[in-house]
């Protein structure tokens, strides 16, 4: 009997000790879709700047979109800090975002801050081609100069790219190809490309790592982690084909019904500062306030002409077409 009592006491002490161990001063729960490492950088920045602790789990843009759609209107988070343009525009339309006239975002162009202040674009990112230096040397390959070169049969089963349903990066790729070649030709291009794709990854940064480790020769990937991986010693080379590349924003907005409105506003304010732009530019993003870019340097990127609002409206249709084309027969 005594033994059992001791056991109960021990277990309950253990229990309370473990349960009590959390508790930050001020926390906001966010959905956040940058690369996992860059998520942490932003969290640390906000913590240092405002004292607010951001709680996040890494998700792809498409996953955040799926989550927000399925939860509306009972959101399990306070805000979004990093999602693609489709969700940002959709949230403004459906009033899943509350407008906030942030003083920190004064004077920023409408590409980065919604004129009605529903959403704020933390910075733009883009996609690039990455190749494995070592494997290229082995085979005598060079990085393609044109997107069309990707259709060469020598790449069969050697290319990885993300899945446009779950990844915002891939959504941007798909739209870029459609904008570049026109809808009909664009789909034809992707169908031809599909023959060389080994598989579609869940997140937009995954190809960087897969190619870096030499699992595959070539990847179409988000630029986000490319510089970091090269610094870490992965044998990577990257380029942007001559036709140019596309871009998308990483958007932030506040969910209606949050209990942490003041904290959320402070987070938005922090994103509007010059320091934040500087940090993001050091990670290779194109920022709301001009700052020297670590990946692209002074080179101004050649973009395919895009209309993100129009693309956002067309995303459901394109998703259906994509499923229809690429999910009918197993390869």
């Amino acid at each position: 009997m005594k033994g059992r009592f001791a056991l109960v006491v021990l277990v309950s002490i253990l229990f309370t000790a473990i349960m009590m161990s959390d508790g930050y001063a001020q926390t906001v729960r966010v959905y956040m879709g940058l690369s996992p490492e860059n998520n942490v950088k932003v969290v640390d920045f906000v913590k240092a700047k405002t004292g607010i602790q951001i709680l996040q789990t890494f998700q792809s843009f498409g996953e955040i979109e799926a989550k927000v759609k399925s939860e509306a209107p009972n959101f399990n988070a306070d805000m979004v800090t990093g999602c693609g343009s489709p969700l940002a525009f959709m949230s403004k339309k459906n009033k899943w975002a509350v407008p906030y006239d942030s003083p920190a975002w004064k004077g920023i162009s409408s590409e980065f801050a919604d004129p009605d202040r529903y959403w704020f674009n933390m910075s733009n990112f883009t996609f690039v081609l990455v190749g494995n230096k070592d494997k290229f040397k082995e085979k005598g390959y060079t990085l393609p100069k044109s997107w069309k070169e990707l259709l060469d049969p020598k790449w069969k089963d050697q290319i990885v790219m993300p899945n446009p349903l779950s990844s915002g990066t891939a959504n941007m790729m798909r739209y870029t190809f459609l904008a570049l070649y026109g809808e009909e030709e664009g789909w034809k291009f992707m169908e031809a490309l599909d023959k060389n794709i080994h598989h579609y990854t869940r997140s937009g940064n995954a190809p960087t790592d897969l190619v870096g480790r030499g699992e595959f020769l070539l990847g179409i990937t988000s630029h986000e982690n490319v510089k970091k991986r090269m610094d870490e010693g992965y044998p990577l080379i990257w380029s942007i084909p001559d036709e140019g590349t596309g871009y998308d924003g990483t958007f932030a907005f506040i969910f209606p019904g949050t209990k942490m409105m003041d904290a959320c506003k402070k987070v938005i304010d922090a994103f509007g500062t010059q320091e934040f732009s500087k940090m993001m530019a050091e990670l290779g993003y194109v920022t709301p306030r001009p700052a020297p870019n670590a990946l692209f340097g002074d080179k101004s990127l050649k973009y395919v002409k895009l209309d993100l609002g129009w693309a956002a409206d067309n995303r459901p249709k394109w998703n259906d077409i994509w499923k229809e084309k690429f999910r009918t027969e197993a390869k």
Binding site: G3, R4, A6, L7, L10, V11, F15, I18, M19, S21, T27, R29, V30, Y31, M32, P36, V40, L55, Q56, T57, F58, S60, G62, E63, E65, A66, K67, K69, S70, E71, N74, N76, A77, K135, N163, L165, S166, H198, H199, T201, R202, S203, A206, T208, D209, L210, G212, R213, G214, E215, F216, E232, G233, Y234, N319, R327, T328, E329, A330, K331
Partner: protein
Amino acid sequence: MARAETLIAPQTNLVERIKNFINAELINILAAILFLLLAVFLLYPIFAVLIKSIKGPQGFTLSYYIKFFIKGYYFRSLLNTLTLGFINTAVCLVVGFCMAYLTTRGPLALRKPFKIISMMPLIAPPYLFAISLIILFGHNGIMTKAFGIKWSLYGFTGVVVAQTLAFIPLAYLMIENTLKSLNPNLEESAYDLGASEVRIIRTITIPLLAPGILKAGLLVFVMTIAEFGNAAILGGRTPFLAPDTYMMIIGEADFEMGSVLSVVLIIPCIIIFFLHNYMLTGKKFTTIGGKPVASEPRKITPFVQIPFLLISCTAGLAIIISFAMVLAASFTKILGINNQIVLTHIKNFNSNLAILNSIKVSLVAALIGAIIGTLLAYVIVRGKFFGRSFIEMISLSGFALPGTVIGIGYLLAFNNPPIKLTGGIMILALNCVFRFLAVGVEAGISKLHQINIEIEEASSDLGANFMTTFYRIVLPLMFPAFIAGFIYTFMTTIVSLSAVVFLVSPGFELAAVRIFDAAVYGEIGIASATTMKLVVIVIICMVILNYITKKTGFDISPKKGV
């Protein structure tokens, strides 16, 4: 005065009557509460999935099912999943049987090491093997480069190998459990009478083992087709139901199609569950002679021993190498490319936080699960109400239900009022409680069958009320079952992925999900390090629990895996 008395009298009467009522009906009240819990947390979510799969924007429709069967992709996915399930189950049962036979009947020196090796995968997330296979056999893997192996890991074969390695321990544990409880005297007599080893195995051991093997097969099959970690990491473009479901729900918010896939996934599981229940009735063997006695190991003929050893050693070696690879990967920058030793993966703060969360959730789940399991067992064995076997069936069905389906069910059922649980810790714990309930309940039932009801009757005859009897007699006797349920729930919850992956919310990441994300993402270092930390923590928890229970004088022989 007289007035006051008459006023008080009925009142005490009422209290007394309520007391008496509770006392007499407590077991029924308990049963009702438990049934309600089962209905809300196990049946309702599955019902929600079913409804979602036939409900379109304009009322009920079967169009999603039609789409499933018309599109080659989905059908292929179903076919792959079932093939994977059958191959895996067969291989796991064969290897599991060989290992179990060697550890219970084989040479003494081999028993302990084999047992430890075959238990190792149980404490690690199943997709550890996907990670180690990539390190070894990926396009740029160590073995691929060293020997120029042209094995295309990404695809069906890769998934089969990873899943098989992951679920061998499950098959092993359950077969070993049954083998241990078989009285070896029977086999020995046959041996003495001159039967050959092969004949003994064929005509005595395997028939006696049938219930255990059947159950192991069922469990392995269900786990294989529901666990999507390996398939998602290694599948490439080969479709499987579980990862496709995951992709549809998490990546595309396509709940209708996701639900259809879930229902399709659940059908083979339910068929097998009923088949298993049906085949087991009237097949309960009791080996004569009461408790099994430890017997001198008999000499196994080389004809049997060599193939058994070969199979077991191959599997054992594969398991050890996989663990070694993951251990190495967690301490090197990029294993195979840049073998510099670093501690950054180990020190990754986010993954530590995730592990802490996992422990919390698992503790909560284990406590609730053990309590509910024990109570359920009591109600099932001692209750005398209508629908008792129904409750038993439901509470044992949890393990036959794929985790993905439960996860989606919880997401659909508990995201809106009246029961809004998403975004909290309870929803993570509760789904594991009800999925892993079976072990606690079964342990409790078998314990209660050993306790003669006369002890309880004696207690109540001596004037103790129900509560006292329950507290003083039943609970202490059932404590080992409680502990078994606790440990099993704890261990399975901490490494389980398939359901919780749908339910995690920002700021409450779980280790299993973190490892999966990192592995899918390509961060092999972080994935490996987190896996290793998780394994170490599970081992520590097990040691502590064992120590406490030993110290406090409770004999526990956790019947893990059932």
